[in-house]
Amino acid sequence: MGKYILRRLLLLVPVLFGVSLATFVVMHSFTTDPATIILGEHATTDRIEALREELGLNKPIYVQFYDYMKNTVRGDLGKSVITKTSISTELVKRFPATVELAVSAVCIATVLGLVLGVVSAVRQNSVYDYGAMTVALLGVSMPIFWLGLMMIILFSVTLGWLPASGRISIGMVPDDITGLYLVDALLTGNMESFRDAFRHLIMPALALGSYSTAIIARMTRATMLETIRQDYIRTARAKGLREGAVIVKHALRNALIPIVTVIGLQMGALLGGAVLTETVFSWPGIGSYVVEGILVSDYPRVQGAVLLIGTVFVLVNLIVDIIYGYLDPRIQHS
């Protein structure tokens, strides 16, 4: 197992190089000159030339790539061309917000998805089954940004129950330990901040998790339908086990492998979805940073954030692969 993890970590090097190269190539295929975009079309040639020099755009492309890789390896993603602030610093500051949102969404999606899937498989072709699968169909069909807006209309505008945007109310930010507000509030025993942060998190996390909930529910139903017809389930029942124990300990446990795969794959969808959800709820994470960057043509910002998300995605996939080994001893990582 140790060897397998080491080999996978080594394999990350070419993959991350590929990810950086892809980001660099896409961002440098700008049809319009970034310096012109930043300064506007009416800027003088001298100013554009000076900015091109400052941004290093006059160097040959391979030198630019070398510089970019050298800085990236050191953790320096350059400066925003608009705000002139360090992109790495800004990403580090915003990263916990996206992590908090994405992890909450995964938790919601996993719990809801498993429950919906198991219930509809155990009660196949019943009202529960049709109900759960209709919810799942809606989940894969609704654009998450629209679901977010509908939630705001219902829970914020009409009922006034939940805040429509932001991550926490002004003056409520807990002492910074991990950057995850819920965790920090708990660690410092600041329950008022915890409640406030939680209220801000509910709608974005539900909206972001909706698509994954649906996918997990469908996958769980399909694999559970297969497992509950196996002989060992009949054996478990025959020896007098309670139905609950048969379903959870014998059927679900064996159905988990494909379900974990799907949950792992959902992380990618969630990171992509975060771009949209963060925009809808003005959530100060990486996603809204990318979108703002695009709207003002701040290409180093987009480049840095895309690279970060790609890297996180690759790492998450690695972790999912390692978890398989623990769940299913038959999978030999050699």
Binding site: V26, M142, M150, V157, G272
Partner: protein
Amino acid sequence: MVREFLSRFAASSSAMIGLGLLTVLVLCAVFAPALAPYDPNSSDLPSALKPPSAAHLLGTDELGRDILSRLLYGARLSLLVGVEAVALALAVGVVLGAVAGFYGGKIETAIMSVMDIMLSFPSILLAIAFMTVLGRGLDKAVIAIGIVTVPHYARIVRGCVLSVKENVYVMAARSIGNGDGRLIFVHILPNVLAPIIVRATIGVSVAILEAAALGFLGLGVEPPTAEWGTMLGSGRQTIFNAPHIVTFPGLAITLTVMAFNLLGDGLRDVLDPRLK
């Protein structure tokens, strides 16, 4: 065989509901000029942000344009973008996947590594990055969404080709002197069509969702073109006093995506029960 397919298709309730919904949507799109009560782009500021009424069944937007008319015209764009993006992704993905699966070795490693790197990014993020480079516009959205979904098809086709190419009939076809191209396109691909058709149908729904997301972020069509995602994006500003502006375009997207999902699910049950 065709008769058997049709009878199984007709017996699948999800396929039939999907097909029914889709037929209505296509009719709306085709006959938009006849059905739309107003010009989708003519603004009428005094009647801006009006809720649904007899004059405007679904209300008006921030410029006083009739939302129903804009939705009907928008159906054309959404369906077109979805189908065109999938066609592009299929054309490239099928060839790449077939070549990788058929030849194996270094060619396969090279193609599949590029596909894997593309899959290292959430597809919507990659589409956003492409749009940043390509600029706004419908044709560009088609290209961006088409490119980022190529790996999905390449992977499926490669897997299918790998499982089929060792079959006796392929060997027989080769032994009577068929070239590689003929082997791939005439003898192998027709036998792996089922999963590709299913994936492509569901792929249209994914493409429509992504196009709507691009529109919502302001990277879609140029105004004043009526496009569902863009309508949602611009309606966001008035969500507190005129929630109907974002409600109806979202419903339209959901129904269309649902139609393709139902059709895809139904086709999967009919064409390839093993995938169920």
